[in-house]
Symmetry: D2
Subunit: 251 residues, 4 copies
Amino acid sequence: MTSAPIRVGVLGAKGKVGRAICEAVEAAADLELVAQVDHGDRIETFVDTRTQVVVDFTHPDVVMGNLEFLVANRIHAVVGTTGFDDARLATVQSWLAENPEVGVLIAPNFAIGAVLSMRFAEQAARFFDSVEVIELHHPNKADAPSGTAYRTAALIAAARAKAGRGPSPDATTTELDGARGADVDGVRVHSVRLAGLVAHQEVLLGTQGETLTIRHDSIDRNSFAPGVLLGVREIAGRPGLTVGIDPLLDL
Amino acid sequence: MTSAPIRVGVLGAKGKVGRAICEAVEAAADLELVAQVDHGDRIETFVDTRTQVVVDFTHPDVVMGNLEFLVANRIHAVVGTTGFDDARLATVQSWLAENPEVGVLIAPNFAIGAVLSMRFAEQAARFFDSVEVIELHHPNKADAPSGTAYRTAALIAAARAKAGRGPSPDATTTELDGARGADVDGVRVHSVRLAGLVAHQEVLLGTQGETLTIRHDSIDRNSFAPGVLLGVREIAGRPGLTVGIDPLLDL
Amino acid sequence: MTSAPIRVGVLGAKGKVGRAICEAVEAAADLELVAQVDHGDRIETFVDTRTQVVVDFTHPDVVMGNLEFLVANRIHAVVGTTGFDDARLATVQSWLAENPEVGVLIAPNFAIGAVLSMRFAEQAARFFDSVEVIELHHPNKADAPSGTAYRTAALIAAARAKAGRGPSPDATTTELDGARGADVDGVRVHSVRLAGLVAHQEVLLGTQGETLTIRHDSIDRNSFAPGVLLGVREIAGRPGLTVGIDPLLDL
Amino acid sequence: MTSAPIRVGVLGAKGKVGRAICEAVEAAADLELVAQVDHGDRIETFVDTRTQVVVDFTHPDVVMGNLEFLVANRIHAVVGTTGFDDARLATVQSWLAENPEVGVLIAPNFAIGAVLSMRFAEQAARFFDSVEVIELHHPNKADAPSGTAYRTAALIAAARAKAGRGPSPDATTTELDGARGADVDGVRVHSVRLAGLVAHQEVLLGTQGETLTIRHDSIDRNSFAPGVLLGVREIAGRPGLTVGIDPLLDL
């Protein structure tokens, strides 16, 4: 690649996540970190430094003001800040309507492996007689199943329903309470809590004589970084609003 | 589904594979087994019984004659017989040109799990810093790596090259000969041979803090049956020649 | 090994299991299959052929008569026939008291991998903060959890109690019914039922920063053969009654 | 347990490992952290505070002086400092001869899971036709295979040789260079290097129809803490020199 590096800025640069993103940008040969802005700094810095893409991991209270400024100044944005409901998304789209060449990516989950594994599970679900989900987490987690496992099971169930697939076969007649897991839209989900684990999920799909297993293991909080960099590289080529990193994966 | 069952015939019905397919068709509520033909039987039986789709697991010596008859009689075909080169495929297409409403599916591998896992590995490869393949088989296998592992690694390598991805990072400076596996187009492949195994493959993909693992386990020779039934159900809706079951998976 | 092969006989030689054992004995260089006896055949054949060890996979109705004959004739026995309660075991011991050089092995489970994995789980249980069991079987299984998983969890629980270990940590406050599995003596057990599986079990043990997983996969009914052969080779050196193959494993 | 907590001191208390041990001791209800000593501090503090067990993670240059002092003052020691050769061990034993009620544990590896998995692999090796080792690490590792994998394979090979087991069956006739891994005393070892991994090892054992897998995953550097605490709790009951934590595991 002989093209000039993309000029990247970070909003919330001094936060824990922001610092990790700054490091990741600096380590990437095709990206250049040109501006770091945090609480109290001038957001105009991005204009002064001719920043092309800004990464925003800030706070729901300030992210809308940030986005209004960025879009008005024709700077692309990759946003991991939470709190976007339909009303907020509509507002962002109204700003983008006036600057249609600008791209904004807003994603609740930048872990590429998690997103891919959900997608693959959804795609594969209708070809197998049986599907079950096992999620495994550290023992300090309060909810079981995990939010990701819920979503994964719901996606699987919807894909199977659409394909006219009935429930997974199950001849269980004698069950010790809870052995067969929780039922999420007809898909069995099992939650393991174990010291020494972080966040893991396994989707098991089976048909006559063969099984397919899709497993995702996440062992540190920085697993969002590769997804953020992917967004930074792709967003200039995707004008308008993009929600979730799935569309960037071109699956 | 209240529609009438699809009328299915089997060519090579008395062979080991053919018998397994007859059983699978009979067990499926939406399919009806109306004709079984083997060496010495009249192929015209398929016309007499108004067969809609014929499954052919016969022999390279007779499969072309079978297909010519089936297409001419406007019967769809799902073919697992081997030996199709470009010349044979062109001949089949010339027959189909005269009966464009007929569908013929010719596939070297009907194991849905194997096909899906190769496809998912290919799709995911460019999003991860590292990819390696481990294939595990029974100890009577003569070649290492397996043909599937070769193909998988080649697909991964091509996907990474297309995305401008360099090689997986590897700081190894001291290696006991063979420890790091074989190199297939820059992708490391490890072959395990173990009593008690049949045919298994694991694709490991990793980036900062997370890994994605796609594992396929095949434990019996009948794992082709679900793929054949998928072909039987879909081929009427796919006129012309289809090679491999990938297109049927709509990924 | 230059010693003469052990002279082996099989009782129930025409049954499915018996035939598999005959094959396994014939395939072993250090064993010689000298007599096959089934329903209707003369049991005295074992004496005529100077059989040293007889394998009995017959029926609860006839096994006691078989054993009385074998012990009286100073022939060692390896027994997989079911139905041994304390009264039957006491009877066998009374026969052995009169022929103290004879060895009889009676085992409910000859799968070495299953026995070893239970034992290792039991040994490891007290060193880890957390332990959970996942068992995975084909979808035709009627009971959940499996008998093996019950036994494994009970062994784990007893080992932890003896070591003064409290329950595994678990901060779950919001649970979808069944997500955390069944509770067997305080150990969580999860039962997966999936087409394409046979019989599998995973024991997960975790402490700060590390986990240990002991997994057993059984994919065919012949997995008893290596355990039976082990019994045949060892029983002459173990006079008296041995229950279960654990003692033969010298762990 | 109503007995008084064990009075524990830490040598090298300000180092990275030392701090982690101090935290672990403080978090354990049956242990009391009574003294922290580092470079420049008075070692007599342990006497003043009536310390019962000292944990030493310091440096090869100072550890012998530390041990001489501790043994002379009848304080038990748990030592993770490296650099002990036969000569050093003999010297420690000479000190212990004069204070035979003192216990000293010197261990190169306190990760209980790693030690257990090696031991289980060794115990199981002779019961299976086939054994192979896969070790998986982060891509910055310089050597392949890992030291642990070498040791594991050597233990397996020795156990098989002792039991008269021949090599694992392998019909490979066509091999792409390296596919079948490295050969360590006849045991195949495969080294995977992947971003997103830390330190993992899998021992696969197989026989007819069944496999047993022993897997160890270590995801953080603190995985030594539970092993150190085990040593602290046990060493008072084991006078004399103990090398490695294996004897404490009572397997």
